[in-house]
């Protein structure tokens, strides 16, 4: 051994490379598996919950958007025919006016020959009416009663149009500073006073629309010879259908070749379905069905079974197997969509609008609150666990400082340890949360979860969840790490 007689020269202690520090941390964790596992579990739990809620919401939003589009697409022919054949009501017209569908506004202007700017003004008013009605509908009942008594919906405007009521409304509003009328109080009162005019314009527009529809159906009747449009369109050949479409277009309606095809297909299937329902209800047919399939189904239920190989023989040669298969498939879709509408689409959170806006995660305030609480609990849990780890290891930390570890090195050790907990817990948690979210959605809403699987947003959410895990663990360990770094080296001498 060298004799230490040289004079002492003192320099600042050098720093340890991060790679070596990390290796020390990982080795330490390997020998403290229980504590490390528990701390990681805290992160895992919080990140799993976070990922599950977000994933579920993303999956539902994507599935809803997809299914809604699918349903709209399936019913496009039917919807278009209803649009051209039935005048609807002024309320329905308000809803369509406020939907910001510019193609419809242009069509309305063409059909009714009302100038486009007047239609645009009408649409703007319809949107304002809808916004105000929504605003009051969302308001707490007790507050609403103070402001507008028991009036609801559009009746509120008639109430506020009276000067005396408007004065009372202003007074009540001044006492409730938490309530902010969108766009201000005065525009609302002005709108209320002019609401009657809006209703007048709306009514006039709807009348004009109805008159033009009546004219159109008269024009079509000369072509179809008094037969209903759907039945006629079902058996019309290409040339007749084109003539029919020309008359519709001449009246100002927009009708693309694709829409015409869909309308004809719908008419065909609908006519077949109606005829089949009558046919299947006959006692002789039902007997034959029973002999072949050994069941007694309602005619509506029999429609779905029409693509079975033996069905054609029971129904008779009036319908081709292809027609039967088409009717069966369409009926099946209709049933499926009715079911999805009742479950998936009904499950829409009321405050969010997940059917529009790609960036919307679609979480309710309550879910945000739960997420916040879970992250807070995780934060406190990690801080607690790390403080305990520091307390437990006081001798080790102090000894390291006696051996030449700087405060910065100790700080780095504990922060790195937290980051390891965060990344492992975060990755496992994201995986667990994702699996749970997908499983839950798939269990509730079936294969539509996977058809519209939002891979991009889900991957983004999972990555974000891991990042949150690392960030949370590191932030929560700031104080414990600081405490460890500032521990006095003479603690190493302490005897318990």
């Amino acid at each position: 051994m060298a004799t230490a007689l040289a004079p002492i020269e003192i320099r600042p202690q050098t720093a340890i490379p991060a790679r070596k520090a990390l290796r020390l941390v990982v080795r330490g964790l390997g020998h403290r598996r229980l504590r490390a596992g528990l701390t990681t579990l805290v992160v895992l739990g919080a990140v799993a919950f976070f990922t599950m809620v977000i994933a579920e919401s993303l999956l539902l939003t994507a599935a809803r958007r997809g299914v809604a589009a699918e349903i709209a697409d399936h019913r496009a022919g039917n919807a278009w025919l209803a649009h051209v054949l039935a005048p609807g009501s002024p309320t329905l017209l308000t809803a369509r006016l406020s939907s910001s569908d510019t193609a419809f506004l242009a069509e309305l202007s063409r059909v009714t020959t009302i100038p486009e700017n007047e239609i645009a003004a009408l649409a703007a008013d319809a949107r304002r009416e809808r916004d105000y009605v929504d605003f009051f509908a969302r308001m707490e009942l007790s507050k609403r009663v103070v402001l507008v008594r028991l009036h609801e919906g559009t009746a509120i405007f008639a109430y506020l149009a009276v000067a005396e009521h408007a004065e009372r409304f202003r007074g009540a509003l001044a006492e409730m500073p938490s309530i902010r009328i969108p766009g201000g109080v005065e525009p609302l009162l002005v709108f209320a006073r002019t609401h009657a005019d809006f209703l007048g314009h709306l009514d006039a527009t709807h009348r004009a629309w109805s008159v033009r529809l009546a004219t159109l159906s008269q024009n079509l009747a000369t072509l179809t010879g008094g037969e209903t449009t759907v039945a006629w369109l079902a058996r019309a050949d290409e040339a007749s259908a084109q003539r029919w479409a020309d008359i519709v277009r001449a009246a100002g309606f927009s009708l693309s070749p694709d829409t015409l095809d869909r309308a004809r297909r719908f008419a065909g299937i609908e006519t077949d379905r109606a005829a089949l329902l009558t046919h299947l209800a006959q006692p002789t047919v039902r007997e034959a069905w029973h002999r072949t399939f050994h069941n007694r189904l309602a005619p509506e239920a029999m429609l779905v079974e029409l693509d079975r190989p033996d069905a054609a023989a029971v129904v008779g040669s009036k319908w081709s197997p292809a027609t039967l298969a088409a009717v069966a498939a369409d009926t099946r879709y209709a049933r499926q969509f009715a079911h999805l509408e009742a479950t998936l689409l009904r499950a829409t959170p009321p405050s969010a609008a997940p059917l529009s806006g790609a960036s919307n995660i679609g979480l309710r305030p309550r879910e945000w609150f739960l997420l916040g609480i879970s992250l807070l609990v995780c934060f406190v849990g990690i801080t607690n666990a790390m403080l305990m780890a520091v307390t437990e290891r006081f001798r080790e930390i102090a000894t390291m400082k006696c051996l030449g570890a700087t405060d910065g090195f100790v700080l780095k050790q504990f922060l790195l340890e937290a980051a390891v907990h965060g990344s492992v817990g975060g990755a496992l948690g994201a995986l667990a949360g994702l699996s749970l979210g997908v499983a839950k959605t798939a269990l509730l809403h079936g294969d539509r979860t996977f058809v519209y699987f939002p891979t991009g947003p889900i991957a983004l959410a999972a990555t974000g969840a891991v990042a949150i895990g690392v960030l949370l663990a590191t932030l929560a360990s700031l104080y414990p790490s600081w405490a460890a770094a500032h521990m006095a080296p003479m603690e190493a001498m302490r005897i318990e």
Binding site: M1, A2, T3, A4, L5, P7, I8, I10, R11, P12, Q13, T14, I16, K20, R27, G28, G30, H31, R32, R395, E396, T399, M400, K401, C402, L403, G404, A405, T406, D407, F409, A488, P489, M490, A492, M493, I495
Partner: protein
């Protein structure tokens, strides 16, 4: 300060330490002056509460005095910042603790290599030196055992090897044999004595163990924060019986 003799390693000048415990002021050290020469083997003695531990920590750069100065090779330790103190602890002082304080997650070899990691020694050199040191304290063949697989005496030998890792000028031992049986304690003494006599390592040892007194060159008794008595080992050897009575 006059020009000090070059062979003085530690010089404590009128060191005082006062701290507050609740409402009362505790005077742990009331002015201790002591010079420790290179290659000396000094034993610090004194009952608990005598200020022995406090003084010991001052010498090791683990605590700072509230009054007076502690010089390490004529460098005032109060003037050093945190990183310079870390440098000093890392390379100039070796610590040996009563409860060994080995890292339980590391092998004996890794424990000995740790101070060299802090000193920035290349891993291969550190490994070679650590193996040589373990050999030196008689632990060849135990390099890859963890502390819990070693006996108390073996653990203390690892701790000695660790303390020697960066060739310190001063070895500070805090009750190094208090947790060991008599025979093992003797072996530890033997190693320390050999280090002192053969390699010239300066040793400051706080102890109650009379076996240690016989190997030291000087003994310092502290009592109520003051140096009560300083004696050479020869004198103590003669009065050992009286000493035992006093304690």
């Amino acid at each position: 300060m006059s020009a000090a003799a070059p062979n003085i390693l530690v010089r404590a000048h009128n060191v005082q330490k006062t701290y507050r415990r609740g409402a009362e002021l505790v005077h742990a050290l009331r002015g201790v002056s002591l010079e420790i020469h290179r290659t000396e083997y000094v034993c610090l003695m004194g009952p608990s509460g005598s200020g022995k531990s406090t003084f010991f920590n001052m010498v090791g750069g683990l605590d700072s005095p509230t009054g007076g100065r502690v010089f390490m090779d004529e460098v005032d330790m109060a003037q050093l910042n945190a990183r310079e103190l870390a440098f000093l602890r890392c390379r100039k002082i070796g610590y040996i603790f009563q409860s060994y304080n080995l890292s339980s997650v590391m092998t004996a070899l890794d424990n000995v290599m740790l101070p060299m990691l802090f000193a920035g020694v290349h891993a291969d050199d550190a490994r070679r030196r650590a193996l040589a040191l373990l050999d030196r304290v008689g632990l060849d063949g135990r390099a890859f055992h963890r502390p819990k697989e070693l006996s108390g005496g073996q653990q203390q030998r690892v701790a000695i090897a660790r303390a020697l890792a960066n060739r310190p000028a001063l070895l500070l031992c805090d009750e190094p044999t208090a947790n060991l049986d008599w025979q093992t304690g003797r072996e530890i003494h033997q190693i320390l004595l050999e280090l002192n006599q053969r390699d010239g390592v300066t040793i400051v040892c706080a102890t109650h163990d009379h076996e240690m007194l016989s190997v030291s060159t000087r003994m310092v008794w502290l009592s109520d924060g003051r140096i009560e008595r300083v004696a050479n080992s020869k004198d103590v050897a003669l009065t050992k019986a009286t000493l035992e009575v006093r304690e």
